[in-house]
Structures are given as C-alpha cells and as structure tokens.
Symmetry: C2
Subunit: 138 residues, 2 copies
DNA sequence: CTACCTGCAAAAGGTTTGCATAGCC
DNA sequence: GGCTATGCAAACCTTTTGCAGGTAG
C-alpha cells in the first residue's frame, strides 16, 4: 500500500472516534486541519481502507454509510429515533446466527446483523409509567 | 383515503409479487399497462401506502428500498451475493430480541432486523467440498 | 367546489468518477 | 520515471418536491 498523508489521516480519524463517523463527518473533521482535502479523497480512502480490512463500512439503511475502526467481528444496532449506531458484541448474536443457519440455511456475514429499534436513552426519554420501563442490564 | 387508479395499481402490484419489488420494479411493471404513470407517483404511493400500514417499506442498506405486501411482523435477510431479500419469520427472532432487550436495553422494532449474509442457493453454487456444505433444514 | 392526486421535470442528498496535476518509491 | 493518489467538478442514482392541470367525493 502506497503511503499518503490523506490516507493516514482518514485511517487515524476513523480509528480514534468511537462514533462510527460518516464520510462527511470524517471530511468535516479533517477540513479543520487540512483545508485542501477533498470529499472525493475521503470517500476513496474510506473505501480503500475498508476493502483492505483496516476499517469497516457499516451499511446504514436510509442514511449515509458509517465507518468503524473496530475490525473484530461485531454487529450494529441503529436507533431509529436518534440515529445513533451502537455496537453489539458478537457473542450476543452467535447463538442466534447458528440457529438461523440451521433453520433457514442463511449464513450470516461477520458483522452482518443490523438491528433497528430504540436505544436505552430514547426509551427512557419517553414518558411511560416507570413500571413498564425495563431497566437495561449492563 | 381517496381512491385513485394509480394507487390501487401500486398496491396490487406490491401485494401480488413476493419479490419485494423496488420502486423502480413497480414502475417498470406498471409502465407496461399504464404508459403514462410516472415514477414520482409510484414513489408517492409507495410511501403513502406504507405510512398507512397497507404495505411495508424494507430498508436495504446500500441499495434501493424494497416494498413488501406482507404486513404481519417479520424480518428480512439480504443475500449480499445475489441481492435477493428473504423473509424471516418473526418467531425465529423473538427469543433473540428478548435477549437483546434484557442484555443491552435496546428494543428492536417490529420488522427491525436485517441480516446480511449468504442465501442457501448462493452457498450451494460455491465449489466447496460437499462435506463442508451444511444442508439447510427446512 | 374543494381537496387531493397526477405527470412532468427539476432538485436534493449521498456517492462515484474523469481528468489533469502532484507525490511516493 | 512510473504508478498511484489528489483536488476539483461533473456525473450518477435514488428519492423527493414544486407546479400546473385533472379527478374523486
């Protein structure tokens, strides 16, 4: 792989942010210190780096793709209320993916699971009677 | 709801096709018999009908949204090889969604599960030694 | 009659690509 | 020096929207 300053910056930006930044986030962050970097270059490098396995592209339905510096196998949960993306540890889905394979023949990809739903803090913000709100177990 | 010929045709087209057609699929199908129908109208009606709960919009990462005439709760599996979308019965995911809620506090939406992976027929097409190919259990 | 719907075409949002120039090895 | 990356802008693809005219109730 050929070195370029921009590629290194893109990689470092994704790796150092746990927020699953979009291409546009990365672009905005880098623009601050690298005023000439172009959006095209950011996209090219994000795709290059995820093809090379150094980062991961997280496909988000109905929104911009996001990029993830964590390359160990894990899955994602998208809160359809606030738009945040959360990680889901692989072992929480392992049994499920085995069951799906056995029962349907469908073989889940590594990082192939996207859950749409409502995250803890969005659920807590809703004014439901406290008794019906299940507390998450961390 | 106000009647229109186009709306009825769109609804009927989605309901009668198990292929989870995209807006463009619906448009192409209807164009054959309704040469003046416009893509904008197809989109407007698909959105209207899914807002009204008569069909469902299936958000597909990295590809056009698809529409589903089956409105009972179920989930989807996208084959990242052939691009087909398959239904996944809700009861196969029920236990999993309970577990996720308890362990992470994330509350899955109805129809909120998208599995990316490889479908049975794509797996069978690959030239692996037969012994390593797990047969699906239907 | 009025509200809502249509067809058309333009706009919008996200992503990719062509081209000439610049930078790594 | 050659190959690849960059910046810029235009192109692309899917979806939405504004508008003027048409249709259901």
């Amino acid at each position: 792989m050929k070195y370029s300053r921009q590629r290194e910056l893109v990689l470092e930006t994704v790796r150092s942010r746990p927020i699953h930044p979009t291409a546009d986030d990365v672009f905005a962050i880098l623009r601050k210190t690298e005023p000439n970097i172009s959006l095209g270059t950011v996209y090219r490098n994000l795709n290059f780096l995820s093809d090379a396995g150094l980062i991961r592209k997280v496909l988000v339905p109905n929104a911009s793709d996001r990029f993830d510096g964590t390359v160990v196998e894990h899955h994602h949960m998208l809160c359809t209320q606030c738009g945040e993306v959360f990680d889901l540890a692989h072992d929480l889905a392992e049994e499920f993916s085995q069951e799906i394979l056995l029962k349907t023949g469908f073989e889940m990809n590594h990082c192939g699971l996207m859950l749409l739903g409502k995250c803890v803090s969005c659920r807590e913000k809703e004014c439901r009677p406290a008794s019906t709100v299940k507390q998450p177990i961390e």
